[in-house]
């Protein structure tokens, strides 16, 4: 068989080997890695659907014998943190109230920033940009206490507005970098053409650049939603129990020491908290591709 194979005259498409050694190694590695990442998720989902008696039996990998949504309902509406017993729902809405304004504020300011730095260079704009980028490399921890004082002085300590301000400021360096580089990559002639056509600073931004920049906005939204939603440190420092974001509340539920450890409720609460970033990835993935596919300057 091998001999005749050697005598084969090359003609037409090259025959592909389905199970070559390198393929086995690649797919094998991929399968092992995906199991490694998916197993904890499997355990979490299964545990959250079991009742406590079933959990006590061990067998964390086995599917539930009797599916119950009780833990999910409890995690959302009845779980206790301190004196409040209204579950994660309070934290969820707090996080939404923090996320939406931070998202809008940081992305609108950073995109205009990046646009101005890329297209309307002024004296010292490069220095300004360098300083801003430098800000991205300063560890958060250094700034925590000064910001506490700052927020106290302007009367926003402990409020949602204060946290929104903090998120906006901390998102600025990386988002500005993102937008500046994006706008700098758009051919300058397009910008010149718009100027000849009489469009001003805002006209060019809204009518010419914004419509062709959907993908980069999606990237910024992904960055900011995951960053702000997953934030724990700023939330726990700059807000008070009534305005705690979801992550902080999750921690308080999971780590509460009173009574029995309800693993199923904890798992459900954790999954609930992770749903928002997850949803963003699923929704924006499509938008992202569509954004890239549309519009081209040159042929």
């Amino acid at each position: 068989m091998l001999k005749s194979n050697n005598n084969l005259i090359p003609n037409g498409p090259k025959p592909k080997k389905a199970f070559s050694r390198s393929n086995i190694i690649i797919y094998g590695t991929l399968i092992v890695i995906s199991i490694y990442y998916l197993l904890p998720l499997w355990v979490m989902v299964m545990t959250s659907l079991k009742g406590m008696p079933e959990i006590r039996m061990g067998n964390i990998f086995s599917p539930p014998l009797e599916i119950t949504f009780e833990p999910w309902i409890k995690a959302w509406a009845h779980a206790c943190t301190g004196i409040n017993c209204d579950g994660l729902s309070r934290g969820f809405w707090n996080s939404v109230k923090i996320l939406i304004p931070s998202l809008i504020l940081s992305i609108s300011v950073a995109s205009v920033n990046g646009y101005a730095l890329a297209n309307w260079k002024f004296r010292g704009s490069e220095v300004f940009f360098t300083i801003l980028i430098f800000g991205a490399f300063i560890p958060y921890q250094i700034m925590i206490y000064p910001i506490v004082i700052l927020l106290r002085e302007i009367g926003l300590m402990g409020s949602t507005a204060g946290l929104v301000l903090v998120h906006t400021i901390f998102g600025m360096p990386i988002l500005t970098l993102l937008f500046r580089n994006h706008f700098a990559a758009i051919p300058e002639e397009l910008f010149k053409a718009a100027r000849v056509d009489g469009a001003g600073f805002w006209g060019i931004y809204f009518k010419v650049l914004l419509p062709m920049s959907v993908p980069i906005f999606v990237v910024a939204i992904i960055l900011q939603v995951t960053g702000i939603w997953n934030d724990f440190l700023f939330g726990v420092i700059y807000t008070k129990p009534a305005t705690y974001p979801m992550t902080v509340q999750l921690n308080n539920i999971v780590n509460s020491v009173q009574g029995v450890k309800e693993y199923n409720v904890n798992m459900a609460a954790t999954l609930l908290t992770g749903l928002v970033p997850l949803a963003i990835y699923f929704v924006s993935g499509k938008l992202f591709v569509r954004g890239i596919a549309a519009g081209a300057v040159k042929g």
Binding site: P187, E189, L190, K192, A193, A194, R195, V196, D197, G198, A199, G203, K207, V208, P211, M212, A294, G295, A296, V297, K298, G299
Partner: protein
């Protein structure tokens, strides 16, 4: 020509970025309805000059007038210009109609007026069926038409073209070049056109300005530029294959090069006193070297040995050595020559150009 006020006037224009001087004391006047081509190799400042005229670059010193109005400090949109860019620079998210009407909408023009202007431009450029398409769905030539249309709808006197045909393939470039010339003959706008393609410059221009290092080396009609280059740079730059240069000396109106003596009696010197000079370069275009039977009638004849033959279809390019210098001779397409042949050539001093080797200026 001199009595009319120029359509565009640039006076004493300076532009520097920090220490780098891009344009220096540049003066230029363009007449009403004139097609002026700024020609030069890359980095000579031709696009920069165009951007200064358009108001897209802030100048360091000097003044710019368009249509008798001082527009030195005016915004690009207030200058009464339309501009076409090399990369078309169409707004990718707008339809062709949106692209054409964008400037007019910014100027808050009434809807009916926009409608009629867009229709007129679309008709002139024959892009009516494309009005609802996005630029992404157009071919290169169609995009460039839309870009020209965007300048057309502005109904201005001056059009600025920044290498508009350089992104197109060779055949399309020739077609659009012809169309541009027809368009200019029809509309009679003033056009300033930047290119590095000398064929484009020669075919389109009323006058050509050849630029080098931010200075205009020569400003003249294509005929003047080609046949009476003012300096060695222009002589060398224009023409393909380029001019042959021989270095020799000039004595009593006779040019001496090795054993070759060319009597320049009938040559039109820029200055009659210039008939004696030690270092002189003579420039002769390859097609001005006469071969065959006619060469015997030329004022000066000599023999060369053919080194290399390049048949190009319409004509044949012959490389030969005249003493130590390699010269190029353009012969007709069906000329029967081969390497090693002895070739009799004739030179007519009237069609040659003499330059001072040191100052590089025409004498």
């Amino acid at each position: 020509m001199s009595t009319k006020t120029p359509s565009v006037k640039v006076s004493n224009l300076d532009l520097h970025f920090g220490e780098i001087k891009v344009l220096q004391k540049l003066n230029l006047e363009i007449n009403q309805g004139e097609f002026l081509v700024l020609l030069g190799s890359s980095g000579c400042g031709k696009s920069t000059l165009l951007n200064c005229i358009a108001g897209l670059l802030d100048i360091s010193d000097g003044q710019i007038f368009i249509g008798n109005k001082n527009v030195t400090w005016a915004e690009p949109s207030e200058r009464g210009i339309g501009m076409v860019f090399q990369s078309y620079a169409l707004y990718p998210q707008m339809s062709v109609e949106g692209n054409l009407s964008f400037g007019l909408k910014n100027a808050r023009m009434p809807k009916e007026e926009i409608r009629s202007r867009v229709d007129r431009a679309a008709k002139i450029l024959q892009i009516e069926p494309l009005l609802n398409r996005k630029p992404g769905a157009l071919s290169g030539g169609q995009r460039q038409r839309v870009a020209i249309g965007r300048a057309l709808v502005r109904d201005v006197d001056v059009f600025l073209f920044d290498e508009p045909l350089s992104n197109l393939d060779a055949k399309l470039r020739v077609d659009l070049r012809v169309e541009l010339k027809l368009l200019h003959q029809r509309l009679k706008n003033t056009i300033i056109y930047v290119t590095h393609d000398q064929i484009e410059a020669m075919t389109l221009a009323n006058r050509i300005a050849i630029m080098k290092d931010g200075k205009i080396m020569q400003l003249g009609t294509p005929d003047e530029i080609y046949n009476h280059p003012q300096n060695l740079y222009v002589a060398d730059f224009i023409g393909s294959p380029s001019m042959n240069f021989l270095e020799g000396k000039l004595k009593d109106s006779k040019f001496y090069y090795d054993s070759l003596i060319l009597s320049m009696d009938s040559y039109k010197f820029t200055n009659k006193m210039n008939t004696n000079k030690n270092k002189v370069t003579i420039g002769i275009r390859p097609e001005h070297i006469i071969t065959g039977e006619l060469s015997k009638k030329a004022p000066i004849t000599t023999n060369v040995i053919v080194k290399l033959v390049e048949p190009m279809g319409s004509d044949t390019l012959v490389y030969a050595n005249l003493s130590e210098t390699q010269i190029r001779i353009r012969m007709e397409g069906n000329a029967k020559v081969e390497a090693g042949d002895k070739l009799e050539i004739g030179i007519d001093p009237n069609r040659a150009s003499l330059f001072d080797t040191k100052s590089e200026q025409r004498i």
